[in-house]
Amino acid sequence: MSASQPIDTRAEMLSGALSLASAPPPSTARGVTSDLSIDEALLLHGAGWEPVDLVCGVSVVSVPIGVWNWGQGEITVASAAHNAAVKGASDHLQNECIKVHGHGVVGVRVNVEVHTHHIDVELVGTAIRPLSGGSHPAAPFVSDLSARDFALLQGAGWMPVGLAFGASFAYAPRRSAGDAMKQKTQNIELTNFTEAMYSARESAMERMQRSALDVGGQGVVQVKVTEGPMHFAHHAVGFTAWGTAVRLVAESHQFVQPDVILPLDDAVVTFAAQSLRGA
């Protein structure tokens, strides 16, 4: 497949159909499973990698009773439970990757559910390995980057090293009875909630960046955040941040130098019925 030689897709289709015209010999080979799209598989292959297997990691961590009751400052037990659940799931994922001789996991789907008494974390992705083989790393990388982003990152001289994660839950302090009465008839900022959110954010971001350093990363890309009051405890706010920790492996950053294109097709022009009314 090269740019100068157009592919005769009909001939390829016939070759494919021919390959199914006779029953294949019995095989004991271990089938490869992957949740990558065909585009992602092609891109990965172009970047020198291939999928090995679907891998998963799950951790359910208990949150002791009473921790969401009203208090002051950070809800340290809940924050610790959240971080332990992510760490546990990530470790299980890494172990599965090692078992199938993968060098890393890409496209990890992160699913976190915070319940009153337990926090569930599920990670699912595709383990990959380089086409050239090579020795197995002691700790495979875990990344929630898509195969396209992984190929682009590698082209720029960087590699993912792990999932960086941080979470923090904090109580919104009670207002005094006087403040509550005064604010009842005012349009006013509730500084207790704002301050709680700032406190949770700073702790979560700091933990995320520290976890990136722990896995040998220099920074974190594609950071996602969730924030807001807990649906089962409105006086508590939570902030989570996660992304992929990356490290420069080339001598220096390789500039991608993209081509600038100017599409000549118009933006979508649709018929607007209102124009008939002369409005």
């Binding site: 497949m1 390829e12 021919l18 019995p26 499973t33 002791p64 009773i65 332990a84 699912v124």
Partner: protein
């Protein structure tokens, strides 16, 4: 439904014998299909409605109260037993717990899914099709009756000038249009859609019950603690679905897999975790061509 031509309703036979075709493809997919040398011959479907009850052989009720009875489970089915660390406390105390693979649920699901799929392929065979593209499947629970409907829909096609598939059984794929074209260009021929379902029942023992309701039990840890039984059950459901689907591959590849995990909490700590995994079983028919390095672009709009 062994003899497709005679089993089909009269209207279906008339439809199959007509000179027009029907297809579920979008216009771009239809154009890509023609470009690939595929000729649509008809929209094909398969249905099956299944019901499974709680009282079947091997179900929780049949299992009885013996923690070591795996009645109704096939050989090699997943089962883990957990023992209470406290000893006898009371009749209500959960002295043992288990994670059990519900093979009877998985087998019924596979039967329903397989029957609907086979019926779709039988319709395609009646059209003389070589394959079915753009397959869409849907598994729906009908009301609250423990009844599930399996529905398959796809477009039967003939490969212009191509040979019939081995055994006359059409190949099938969820792909259509440019995604199918790219797969063929890359050297992957679709063989069939592949899917599996794994169901794990968690019978919580005392510690799992305590942890899932936030209490610590006697002598339990005071810091956050991983609920081992539930974590393992959840992992097992995904791993089992992967294992079942791999058994269908015979050395081929599964591309574009999607995983869906559904948890149903029955009581504190007790739950059922169902995992469904589906994707395209593909066979490599030529060496993988390396794509030229992609050119990054910035779009001015």
């Amino acid at each position: 439904m062994s003899d497709a031509a005679t089993d089909l309703p009269e209207a279906a036979v008339r439809r199959i014998e007509s000179t027009s075709f029907s297809s579920g493809l979008s216009v771009p997919d239809f154009a890509a299909c023609l470009d690939l040398g595929l000729q649509p011959v008809g929209l094909v479907q398969g249905f099956c409605v299944m019901r499974w009850g709680w009282y079947g052989a091997g179900s929780g009720y049949m299992r009885g109260m013996n923690p070591y009875a795996g009645a109704g489970q096939g050989d090699g089915a997943y089962m883990e037993t957990y023992r209470c660390p406290h000893g006898y406390v009371s009749a209500e105390h959960r002295m043992w717990g288990q994670n059990v693979e519900q093979t009877w649920v998985e087998e019924t699901w596979s039967q329903g899914y397989g029957s609907a799929y086979t019926r779709m392929l039988e319709e395609a065979t009646a059209f003389g099709a070589h394959g079915v593209i753009g397959v869409v499947d849907r598994v729906t629970n009908l009301a609250d009756t423990g009844t599930t409907e399996f529905h398959f829909l796809g477009t039967a096609i003939k490969v212009e000038g191509g040979p019939p598939p081995a055994g006359g059984v059409p190949w099938s794929t969820y792909l259509a249009g440019q995604r199918l074209t790219k797969s063929i260009e890359a050297g992957f021929m679709p063989v069939s859609v592949a899917a599996s379902m794994a169901s794990v029942r968690v019978w919580a023992y005392c510690m799992t019950e305590y942890f899932m309701e936030g209490s610590r039990g006697w002598g339990g840890p005071t810091s956050p603690y991983e609920v081992d039984q539930v974590s393992k059950a959840h992992m097992a459901s995904i791993q089992l679905a992967r294992k079942h689907v791999r058994q269908q591959l015979s050395g081929d590849l599964l591309h574009g897999a999607t995983i869906e995990v559904v948890k149903r909490e029955l009581s504190q700590g007790d739950e059922v975790i169902d995992c469904t995994l589906r994707g395209n079983r593909m066979r490599r028919f030529k060496d993988f061509d390396v794509v030229p390095p992609p050119r990054p672009t910035v779009r001015l709009t």
